[in-house]
């Protein structure tokens, strides 16, 4: 009997041992938080920090690629008649057909990522907005932060609605990926969201920031963007109202030197309304740059000493020949292979090697022509990561206002604004004759003034000129919208439906 008791007792002990250990002591052992900051650790200023994260993402080397890198160049620039893929013919040959010749491809990294990364940025904005909301942040600073987030959301959706038309409207924080798998909303509903966001942003963003925040979002930027969205809807009066507010704000003026806008000294100049901020410290320190400048720099073999980037987005013959004689904006915008870089229009006194013997393209985008001194000091001899991307300039605002005035039968007033832009580059004034003449003049001016800055394709589309101008390249009317990327459709279980024309 004794023996069996002993066994029972021992078995009991056997069972109790792990139980005892597990009840005590484990909790602490298993409570481990990340050994680095989390959102929870950021109390005050957390919302601002999150919003800064959006500023970071919109131009970084990842998500930022679709706001200035090669996917952006393809969608916003290659598709115009002004520029083409560029680079070596063998480099990205598969991008020629879809973006230069309008044989749109449904499954291509550029457009797949364009879609995904825009939604990634939208996700960041929704998270910030929801965070502010859940914390009941109502102070002025918080409202500014919310306004910034809503600006970026509108900015992203404007790209999406212009490029794809109807798209899913995600205006809430996603907790579970399944929540994000929703059907498309009509473009009108996307525009309604854009309007609401930009109205809030216009009302809550400051007119101007202190000296420590050059290039941070202002009400001027919100209004200019909002006006641009109205331009796409041909809502001239709404656009004009906003543009007048920007013009009358007294914050902006045309920068005296046209090419100077695009030099390092011209960053955040008086003409700058919206500009993605890039910075690279000396000797490769603090690399907070973007692909924007590098992807367009002159491309050549390393050994030629002219490897300044990837050489994408190069001007076309059509673009070069579109300029009026003597327009200084041509030599300020285009860098010619085999010619001097012309210090009078932004060069540094070098002569480019010849095309096609050494350089693979005739022309290059001079607006991102890297300063050799900066290349040396940053240590990036073959890139231009530090160059800011000028997104909305005051000249654009003036020309948009001119267009609105002309479309609302105030052509004479339109001519005044148009001539402001022309006067800066010493081009002769254009007198108002009739609406059609003025319309043509404004269109021509936009092409010359905003060359290679990502406006031309969408301008042609909204003017209904695209078929006429781009038709010879292969454009047909359905090409105003790009097909929704196949992988997005594939993984949505049919929730996402392809654009009807495709």
């Amino acid at each position: 009997m004794e023996k069996s008791k002993r066994i029972l007792w021992s078995l009991l002990l056997l069972l109790a041992l792990p139980g005892m250990f597990m009840l005590s002591g484990c909790k602490k052992f298993l409570d481990r938080k990340p050994l680095t900051a989390t959102l929870d650790d950021l109390h005050q200023g957390g919302i601002e920090g999150q919003v800064f994260g959006i500023y970071s993402a919109v131009k970084d080397y990842d998500i930022g690629q679709v706001f200035g890198g090669i996917p952006w160049q393809a969608i916003h620039n290659f598709r115009s008649d002004d520029s083409q893929k560029g680079s070596e013919p063998s480099d990205g040959a598969e991008w020629v057909a879809p973006f230069d010749n309008f044989q749109y491809v449904k499954d291509l990294w550029a457009t797949n990522f364009y879609w995904d990364a825009h939604y990634s940025l939208i996700h960041l904005t929704n998270t910030a907005i929801q965070t502010a909301d859940s914390l009941h942040l109502t102070g002025v600073e918080s409202e500014v932060n919310i306004a910034e987030a809503r600006f970026f959301r509108a900015f992203s959706y404007f790209d999406m609605v212009r490029t794809f038309g109807d798209v899913p409207k995600i205006d809430f924080r996603i907790y579970n990926a399944a929540q994000a798998n929703i059907a498309k909303s009509p473009a009108a509903q996307i525009y309604a969201l854009i309007d609401a966001d930009l109205q809030y942003a216009s009302a809550n963003l400051p007119l101007v920031w202190g000296s420590q925040y050059p290039g941070r979002l202002t009400s001027g930027a919100a209004k200019a963007l909002w006006a641009k969205t109205y331009m796409f809807r041909s809502n001239w009066s709404a656009a004009l109202g906003l543009l007048n507010q920007v013009i009358n704000s007294g914050q902006y003026s045309l920068y005296s030197s046209y090419f100077g806008i695009f030099k390092d000294a011209g960053e955040n100049c008086s003409e700058s309304i919206l500009e993605w901020q890039n910075y690279v410290g000396p000797n490769k320190t603090d690399d907070h740059g973007s692909w924007y400048g590098t992807c367009q720099g002159v491309r050549a073999a390393n050994s030629t000493g002219w490897n300044l980037g990837w050489g994408w987005n190069t001007p076309t013959d059509a673009f070069v020949s579109s300029f009026e004689a003597g327009d200084p904006r041509l030599p300020s915008t285009v860098l010619f292979s085999g010619q001097s870089d012309d210090p009078a229009t932004g060069g540094y006194g070098a002569t480019l090697p010849a095309y096609p013997a050494v350089l693979p393209q005739k022309y290059w985008n001079k607006k991102v022509y890297a300063d050799p001194a900066m290349r040396q000091s940053t240590g990036y001899l073959d890139g231009a990561y530090w160059i800011n991307q000028r997104v909305i300039r005051y000249a654009d605002v003036l020309l948009m206002a001119a267009e609105c005035l002309n479309e609302t039968n105030a052509g004479a007033q339109a001519a005044t604004l148009l001539n402001q832009v022309r006067a800066r580059v010493s081009m002769p004034s254009i007198g108002f004759i009739d609406q059609a003449q003025m319309r043509a003049a404004i269109k021509k001016e936009r092409r010359a003034e905003l060359g290679l800055e990502g406006e031309r394709f969408f301008d042609l589309v909204r003017w209904n000129d695209a078929v006429g101008v781009l038709g010879p390249l292969g454009y047909v009317d359905k090409n105003k919208l790009y097909p929704i990327p196949q992988p997005a459709i594939d993984r949505s279980n049919g929730v996402l439906v392809q654009n009807p024309a495709y």
């Binding site: 481990r32 800064f52 480099d91 990926a177 399944a178 901020q277 993984r491």
Partner: protein, 1121 residues
């Protein structure tokens, strides 16, 4: 049945005694019943303890009027008995009293009872006390061995000294001695009462001792599927990673090796169970580990592969992907042994991919240029006169060498073993070399019978190879007209102001500016500028206490610490541009990057086990508590040379961040760190009845720091049963089967896999995010990913059903299993649905099932000739059952994971041919996705709607084989032995990315087969027209699909063992010479270097143009003193 009942009706401890009584009583009854006539009328009550029978009789006389008559000289009358009766008849009492004696009684008249010796009784055979000792391998005492009297239930087990004492009915019984891992032995006592039994280690597969996690057991006692591989199998193979040697050797274990020294193979046990981690858990002498690069293959005693739920549930959340348990060598008892072995050999690249030569390149390139829609400028070939095989240019014959020395000794109290090893493993790519020194030390000290302690230390220093994994792929891309040699140019020294003759490699032509480099430029200039050294120390201490005879308490503490220090120097160097005949400063600036990566793992196990054989019941129970901690701490920094100042010299002295030359402004540092921990309780019961019916049950509860407190604890369990038919009576008549066991188990296992997220439910912040305003930089905060608060571990619901048999006098052995595993709550992330691109959720399920068969046949043909044959066969069937939403796809390159399809299936168009002409194009269904013309690929209209578009894409291949197989032949003739291992897989597809649909971003060399391209009507109906801008031909399609089946002579070894006579002359114990060839020949059906391409769970089977597996030939000598 009777016995069974008895045990449960009576107190346990009296069982043996009772059984003996029963036997004797029955005998007595039959011998005495004649005499037992008439009854005593008087009733008696009697309570005596250990009283002589004569005394008892006197008591009876006192209570009754019976009188006894007997001879005082009778021996048996002096026997002592204990009686406790109440109101019993006198005859009943007498029967009791005289039980077990040779006496009988006779009732006479006058209440007189005569006691006398029974003349028919057998001669007196008194109980015999036998003392004995059982020894095992090398004469060491064998504790816990079972000693049983044949044909009875009398038995005991040996103590820690291997000794036993057993009272047996007589000195002529036969004892059955058995112990786990040893052959059972029968010993006739033949009158001896002091015996020593030496058991021999069992070579029978079914009796092997296997590691089961927190202990060992005989395979016979288990219900699961565990494969055991002897350390010998891996010791003399030319692989630094021991598991690499197991390819095609074990059913259910798939091993895809890499040709890169030091790179772990892709290992999966019984299929792809997750879309996250599918790597098995390694358990090395009890230590949980993710990699085993610190283990010297020569230090391994055995490797066990645990595959089924009943074996794996004890590993809880780590068990789902299977376990590879490694036991390292310990000193063998009673011997001092010195072993030295050395292996030397070389590696050769075989099955080279075939590429165009210079003339072919020119032909094809000129043709392609003419085909392009966008014309490109003419290319001037005049400076380019080379005709290089670029694969040859970057590869070489690699050398392999390994030497090991071990010393072991053992005494009664102490067991000691020490080993040192050195390995040098060169890859086939130039300059790729791994060097490793290992040290192992273990000791076990026995204080007394009850208490012992021990420790194990494994140390390693590894010089990691220069990372040349990119080289083969880079080399294939270079145009063949580029010379691979150097040009000697008198030019400026990049480090100084002087000039000197330099030998420079060639820059590539302008057409290869994008994404293609001359691999020799960085390889030859930088291969010796990286110093990467890993130190690793793995140690453990244990103490074991035996108490209350059957209990063992064991406490173990383990630590595993590793440091990898990598210092990378970027030198200055020139290259030569033949077009401009100029020297180019290819690397214009120096910098140093230093990376210090530490990890620490700590594990503690406390187990208490109870092992007891009670009659027919064998119980082996275990309970335990264990914790595991893993911390990773990584610091890194960089410094650049100052823009204006001196370069950082090309001297190891200065390859540190603070080297005195760097630009302080450019000095940057960073760190990353994470910790995780688990805490677990575990229980296990191994039970069998009469060695016939087995039950294995296990349970583990795991708590993890990586899961939110609400779901933190998860339970895992398994239940297995087995029936050994050959122990049943109905099998005793047959002579064919020696052993038949039917087994099955069911359970739930866990998979602790987090896609690399250290804190899956608790996200940190996006790295390196900063808002820039002008020249001001502000920290930016964004959550790194989206956490799911309900996240929990994946669980694998597994079933295993099979049988084991041995037949024909243990010459044939068959092990069969059917397995079925359903992974539930699949942990995954959904890539890129509208911004929800990150974060983990439990959203799917995957099923894996198949059968495994392992067979072996051993035939001793003559005294000198033995042949062993073995074979294994495994089928794999994988299917995704559920994933987020129906039809949701995880797209990972060409692989697609979708419900209803095997994981990672290839997806794309079916190529029907090539459009031969415009007429052909017009006559075929229209492709609405692309612009195309003659020479482009004609895809199949799968849905038959008359047009070809994305809806016509379909599943075109499965990277998982239908089945895998392996076989070995082992022939021993006198001193010679020959081993041949073969293996292969069947039924899988490979996606060949190179020379097909790889990104047309680059102008790469053409594969040789492009000579068969379409270049006019009727020239090809498979290989499309050349033209990088013919986008239609770059879609994922069957054009890239290749058959992945292969058959390989995996290993061939011929050895010779010198005879004892020869060896004794050099005072040795053993001397062996051998030659070995690994990967001798592979028969395959694809164009790549190898038919095997590992990868991640959702991207594998893709041939990216690398992955060469060399043939390795080695020679070795192994001597023991």
């Amino acid at each position: 049945m009777k016995c069974f009942l008895t045990v449960f009706q009576k107190p346990l401890q009296s069982k043996v005694l009772l059984a003996m009584k029963l036997t004797t009583l029955l005998t007595f009854f039959f011998t005495l019943n004649v005499a037992a006539n008439g009854f005593g009328q008087n009733r008696i009550s009697l309570k005596v303890k250990k009283t002589e029978i004569s005394g008892v009789l006197r008591f009876i006389e006192k209570q009754t009027n019976y009188r006894f008559l007997y001879n005082d000289k009778l021996e048996d009358i002096r026997e002592k008995v204990s009686i406790n009766v109440k109101e019993a008849g006198v005859e009943d009492v007498l029967k009791m009293v005289l039980d077990k004696t040779r006496l009988q009684y006779q009732m006479m008249d006058n209440n007189l009872i005569v006691i006398k010796e029974d003349p028919n009784a057998p001669p007196r055979l008194p109980d015999v006390v036998v003392h004995g000792k059982v020894t095992g391998e090398g004469g060491a005492a064998l504790a816990g061995a079972s000693v049983q009297v044949k044909g009875s239930t009398i038995g005991t087990t040996t103590n820690n000294d291997g000794a036993f004492t057993l009272t047996v009915p007589n000195a002529n019984v036969i004892l059955i001695i058995s112990s786990v891992g040893y052959d059972m032995q029968e010993i006739g006592l033949a009158g001896k009462t002091d015996i020593t039994v030496s058991l021999t280690v069992s070579v029978k597969v079914q009796d092997a001792v296997v590691v089961i996690g927190y202990g060992t057991a005989s395979k016979r006692d288990l219900t699961g599927s565990i494969a055991k591989v002897s350390g010998k199998e891996v010791a003399d193979k030319p692989n630094t990673n021991p598991v690499a040697s197991l390819q095609s050797k074990v059913a259910g274990l798939s091993v895809v090796n890499s040709g890169t020294p030091g790179q772990a193979p892709d290992i999966r046990i019984r299929g792809t169970i997750s879309i996250g981690s599918v790597t098995p858990l390694y358990v090395v002498d009890g230590i949980f580990n993710d990699n085993i690069d610190y283990i010297n293959p020569n230090d391994i005693e055995s490797i066990e592969i645990l595959k089924d739920p009943s074996s794996l549930a004890i590993f809880g959340v780590r068990g789902a992907a299977g376990v590879i348990a490694i036991t390292t060598k310990r000193a063998k008892a009673g011997q001092v042994m010195v072993n030295f072995n050395t292996t030397y050999g070389f590696k050769k690249l075989v099955d080279k991919i075939e590429l165009a030569d210079a003339a072919t390149f020119k032909t094809l390139f000129e043709e392609e240029k003419a085909n392009l829609n966008t014309p490109i400028p003419p290319f001037d070939y005049t400076p380019w006169t080379g005709n290089t095989d670029w694969i040859d240019a970057v590869t070489r014959t690699g050398h392999y060498s390994a030497s090991n020395l071990s010393v072991s000794g053992s005494s009664e109290k102490n067991k000691f073993m020490m080993g040192v090893g050195y390995m040098s493993d060169e890859g086939i790519v130039r300059h790729q070399k791994l060097e490793k020194i290992t040290l192992s030390l273990n000791d076990e000290f026995k204080f007394n019978k009850a208490f012992k302690m021990g420790f194990t230390i494994n140390g390693m220093r590894q010089d990691n190879p220069y990372d040349a994994t990119w080289v083969l792929d880079a080399a294939r891309k270079v145009a063949p007209f580029v010379p691979a040699d150097t040009k000697t140019v008198y030019t400026k020294n990049p480090y100084g102001l002087d000039s000197l003759n330099q030998t420079l490699y060639y820059e590539l032509p302008s057409i290869q500016n994008s994404g293609v480099i001359n691999p020799l430029i960085p390889l030859e200039n930088e291969w010796n500028k990286t110093i990467s050294i890993e130190y690793r120390l793995v140690g453990s201490v244990f103490a074991e206490l035996n108490f209350l005879k059957d209990f063992t308490l064991r406490a173990s503490v383990y630590g595993d610490m590793s440091n990898v220090n990598t210092r990378k120097y970027k030198p200055l160097y020139n290259s030569y541009d033949v077009v401009s005949n100029k020297v180019f400063l290819a690397s214009p600036s120096t910098n140093v990057a230093e990376d210090d990566n530490d990890w620490k793992k700590f594990q503690q196990d406390y187990t208490i086990s109870y092992k007891k054989k009670i009659g027919s019941h064998s119980i082996n129970a275990l309970a335990g508590f264990t914790t595991y901690y893993f911390g990773n701490f990584n610091r890194s920094g960089t410094v650049n040379q100052s823009a204006t100042g001196q370069a950082i010299p090309d001297d190891k002295r200065f390859w540190y961040i603070s080297n005195g030359f760097g630009d302080l402004q450019s000095q940057r540092s960073g760190s990353s760190q994470s910790e995780k921990a688990t805490s677990s309780g575990l229980l296990r019961l191994l039970y069998n009845y009469q060695g016939k019916y087995f039950i294995n049950a296990s349970y583990r509860r795991d708590g993890s720091s990586q899961i939110s407190p609400d779901n933190r604890w998860q339970n895992f369990w398994a239940l297995g049963g087995a029936w050994e038919l050959t122990r049943e009576g109905f099998m005793s008549g047959q002579k064919i089967f020696d052993f038949v066991k039917i087994k099955g188990s069911i359970g739930v296992l866990g998979n602790q896999n987090t896609y690399g997220y250290a804190y899956p439910f608790y996200p940190g912040l996006r790295g390196n995010a900063a808002a820039v305003f002008g020249n001001y930089i502000y920290n930016a905060y964004a959550q790194a990913y989206l956490p799911d608060p309900n996240l929990k571990w994946e669980s694998v619901h597994a079933k295993d059903l099979g049988f084991e048999l041995a037949a024909f006098r243990n010459r044939l052995h068959v092990d069969f299993s059917y397995f079925d595993k359903v992974t539930k709550d699949l942990m995954t992330y959904i890539p890129g649905i509208n911004g929800a691109s990150d974060g983990l959720s439990n959203i799917g399920s995957i099923q894996n099932n198949g059968i495994e068969i392992t067979t072996s046949w051993e035939q001793k043909i003559s005294r000198d000739l033995t042949v062993n044959l073995s074979a294994n066969f495994t089928t794999y069937h994988n299917k995704v059952l559920e994933l987020a939403t129906k039809d949701f796809a995880i797209i990972d390159g060409y692989n697609r994971t979708v419900v209803g399809q095997p994981i990672g299936s290839f997806y794309g168009y079916i190529v029907e041919g090539v459009y031969q002409s415009y007429a052909d194009k017009l006559a075929s269904p229209i492709n609405t996705e692309f612009s195309y013309g003659p020479g482009d690929l004609k895809y199949k209209d799968v849905n038959g709607d008359g047009k070809i578009n994305t809806a016509d894409r379909t599943f075109i291949g499965n990277p998982t084989p239908d089945f895998a197989y392996g076989a070995s032949v082992n022939v021993t003739y006198k001193g010679f032995d020959l081993d041949i291992d073969v293996g292969g897989v069947y039924g899988n597809e490979i996606y060949r990315n190179w020379g097909g649909t790889e990104s047309p971003f680059q102008r790469v060399n053409y594969p040789a087969f492009k000579i068969n391209r379409w270049h006019g009507e009727g020239t090809s109906n498979w290989d499309p027209i050349l033209g990088q801008d013919h986008r239609i031909n770059y879609e994922s399609s069957t054009y890239g699909i290749e058959d992945g089946s292969y058959f390989r002579i995996r290993n061939l070894q011929l050895g010779y063992n010198f005879s004892q006579r020869t060896i004794s002359k050099i005072k040795g114990k053993n001397l062996r010479l051998f030659a070995n060839v690994q990967n001798l020949k592979t028969w395959k059906n694809n164009l790549g270097y190898t038919p095997e391409y590992g990868g991640s769970a959702t991207r594998f089977g893709v041939d990216d143009g690398g992955g060469a597996i060399p043939v390795v030939t080695t020679f070795g000598i192994n001597v023991t003193f």
